[in-house]
Amino acid sequence: MHQVYSRMAVAALMALSTAGCVSAPPRGEYPILESSVAERSGFDTRQLSEQDGESGVNLDDVIQTRLQEPLTADAVVGIALLNNHAWRARYRRLGIAEADVIAAGLISNPSLGTVFRFPTSGSGTNVDLDIAQEIVELLMRPARRRLADDEFTEVQLRTAHAAMDLAHRARTAYFTYAAAEAIRVERERTFEAADIGLTLARETEKAGNISTLELAHHETHLEEHRIALTQANGAVQVARESLNIIMGLTAQEPVWFLDMRPLPEPSYSLPELPVLAQTAIEQRLDLQAAGKEMEVVAHALGLTRDWRLFASVEIGASAEREFDGEWSVGPAMAVEIPIFNRKQDEIRRLESMLRESEENFLDLTAEIAANVRESYRLTADLEQLNASLRENLLPGKKRIVQLTQLEYNFMLVDTFDLLKAKEEEFQARADYFESMRDYWIALTDLERAVGGRLPDTGTSDTQAD
């Protein structure tokens, strides 16, 4: 009897001793997050942890240095991943998920009870000493650790998806801003042309050659352009502040400027739609996370079902000192009997959650397929359109200006006709920049749709610089 109890005690003690080396995950190491994002974008999420003061690198200094260079779309994404504060908050939540992993490895502390009794008559002291340790948790611990690792993987996948989302938003904001700036320049030029026209009209009226009615037409024409210029300035402000938020800049007036050619000509030739659809299935992090969630819920459901009859088992030892000073000692055990509660509620909850996860997964699959088709077609159409604008519209408007100037040279048309041709050239350029912006945003949407890098088709970098 002694021997059996001794063996049980030794086994429990050994399990306890290993449980004492609680192998919590190393702080700040998220290999799934880092590798997922790096594979799909080339960006390093790991830098964030270096800024926690351990390597001594100052985040502010790093950001300021980067802001001094002309910003490309990639540069903006890099700064956002370091400095966007909403993203940094999201990143911190990984620490909370880490805590859940730690929790999965913890077991309850043993309890030590003691009772002193003093006789109401007579002498002596009765002492009860009990020590008890919950062991079902201990036995379940490896399984719970595996489940917790799985859950942690899912959290990292979702965080990685959030990082890719931030990159997508940063790029979209970049192209929006670049186009707004370019369009603003054209509106300034148009305003100058209209102002020159007004100046000429005023001088002509002063000379007595046109009526005040005709002058009034020129004056109001300028105001219409003033409206357009102000709206263009507004669009630039809105786009710039969007980027300031995305890059997490908290200065009173953040100072930075764009790369020289923020909206270059497309250089990526689209693969066929089935290739893109396949890439999406392989790369989309939210899809992987949704799949992982189904696994995790199924895993939790299995674990709950398997252990539903083992609610709680405590083993321990008990010692008693009689009033007369005699000690007696022996093992103790308490078992919760699963009559009423066999985790029926937990099982039902997890079954429903599993169904829900399955539907969410299917919903996401449909959405992804639609995203890919839509952004593929939009990108292809806009690429064709922009090639035509570059080949036909822009040179055509330029040619109109040149040919109008030849007629002006022979006094066949006047300065107002020349100004009108210039205004049309500026409008065409603004239309072109809008269309180029739409192309780059559509391509960025396509990158997001396929969950990261676009398939290599042997042409130069798909990134915008």
Partner: protein, 413 residues
């Protein structure tokens, strides 16, 4: 009345006789043509004829023509025998003339003989006096000339279009027995107006009022031949006008008598002396005078827009407008821009060599004289009267050498 069979036979002969190419006929020299002093068609030629049993037989070919209004302005016109205006027809009162007309146009045509008395069926009015001549076919007109004077020939089928693109010519009938007084220099000038939009190669027949190219014998200044005259010559100029506007033709340094219309000679007591003869639409006018003062005498339509090549009529009026600030700012917007018109348009002629215009378009103001820019275009030329021109010599003698003291000179006041 010619029978249909004979008519067809003649057509066959005519087809065989069609010249392979429509080249310019040489100006006939007086010695080769006894009976009359041949007319000089500026920039043009006379239509040759062959005698067939006492009938002067001429052959006109109505066809598309690539015509230079001047170097650098080649226009797709329609004309006769490779020319616009067509070659001048010359005959003598009393001649029987036979005119073969071959149609090489893409549409049908006829020829009407303006001012000539003839049998109604030879009058050339499509639909009224004859069926129109289909493309590829040849018709014959034949009649005896019962008058002398200055007449014209032109289509009377799709007339608006065919006139607009250049189909017309002079028809001169000399009096039997010569002129009295003798005419030493006899010139034929067909006046016309065209709408050739800048940068294009074809006249626009739809234009009714806004013509931009004004011609003598389908040429513009400075490409119109000068009228070369020996001092003391009696000179006659015959005008025809098939344009949409009357043209007041003005001579410098002389006055002349209007001696004939397309209705005939004006009796001497009824002749009007003028320095400007208004030539109405659809008319001819003959003027005569003795050119007894040497010099380079301008001779032109007096409508000032008609002595310009193409100009813009809708341009803003820049006369008197201070354009300095505008010019400075425009140079940033349009490199090579120059303000124009503040002090008038004269300086324009100097700038067109470094400021090119649309293709196939002549500048508004052209021409260089011995004293500077002439600044003209359109219906402008010069009558060059010289002591030392030989009779019958029409070569251009160059610019007049003014005797000392006869040129306007500067004085300080």
């Amino acid at each position: 009345m010619i029978s249909r069979r004979d008519f067809l036979k003649l057509s066959a002969i005519a087809q065989a006789a069609i010249p392979a190419t429509s080249t310019a006929a040489a100006q006939a020299s007086p010695a080769a043509n006894p009976g009359y002093n041949p007319v000089r068609t500026l920039n043009g030629a006379a239509l040759p004829y062959t005698m067939k049993n006492g009938v002067k037989e001429f052959h006109l070919i109505a066809e598309p023509v690539e015509h230079d209004f001047g170097p650098g302005m080649t226009v797709k016109c329609w004309g006769y025998n490779g020319r616009t205006p067509g070659p001048t027809i010359e005959a003598v009162e009393g001649d029987r003339v036979r005119l073969l007309v071959t149609n090489k146009l893409p549409e049908h045509t006829t020829i009407h003989w303006h001012g000539i008395f003839l049998p109604c069926g030879m009058d050339g009015v499509g639909g009224v006096t004859q069926p129109q001549i289909p493309p590829g076919e040849t018709y014959v007109y034949e009649f005896t000339l019962k008058q002398h004077g200055t007449f014209m020939y032109h289509p009377h089928a799709d007339e608006m279009v065919q006139l607009a693109v250049g189909m017309m010519g002079m028809f001169i009938v000399h009096p039997k027995g010569g002129e009295n007084p003798r005419i030493d220099r006899d010139y034929a000038v067909m006046l016309h107006e065209w709408a050739i939009h800048p940068g294009t190669y074809r006249p626009d027949p739809a234009i009714m009022l806004d013509f931009n190219t004004f011609t003598m014998n389908s040429k513009v200044f400075p490409f119109i031949d000068h009228l070369v005259v020996r001092t003391g010559d009696r000179i006659r100029i015959r005008f025809g006008n098939l344009s949409m506007d009357q043209h007041p033709m003005h001579i410098h340094g002389y006055s002349f008598d209007v001696t004939a219309t397309d209705g005939g000679r004006i009796p001497p007591s009824a002749r009007w002396p003028q320095t400007t003869v208004p030539v109405p639409v659809g008319s001819t006018r003959d003027i005569e005078w003795v050119a007894d003062v040497p010099g380079d005498w301008a001779f032109h339509c007096h409508k000032s827009h008609h002595t310009m090549n193409a100009m813009g009529h809708d341009v803003a009026n820049m006369l008197g407008v201070d354009q300095r600030e505008v010019e400075r700012r425009m140079k940033n917007l349009v490199p090579g821009y120059m303000a124009m018109g503040t002090d008038g348009m004269a300086e324009h002629q100097d700038h067109v060599d470094h400021m090119p215009g649309p293709v196939n378009t002549l500048p508004m103001m052209m021409g260089e004289g011995p004293f500077g820019n002439i600044e003209m275009g359109g219906m402008f030329t010069i009558v060059k009267v010289r002591d030392d021109v030989a009779p019958g010599d029409y070569t251009d003698p160059g610019w007049y050498k003014h005797p000392p003291g006869t040129v306007a000179y500067k004085v300080e006041i």
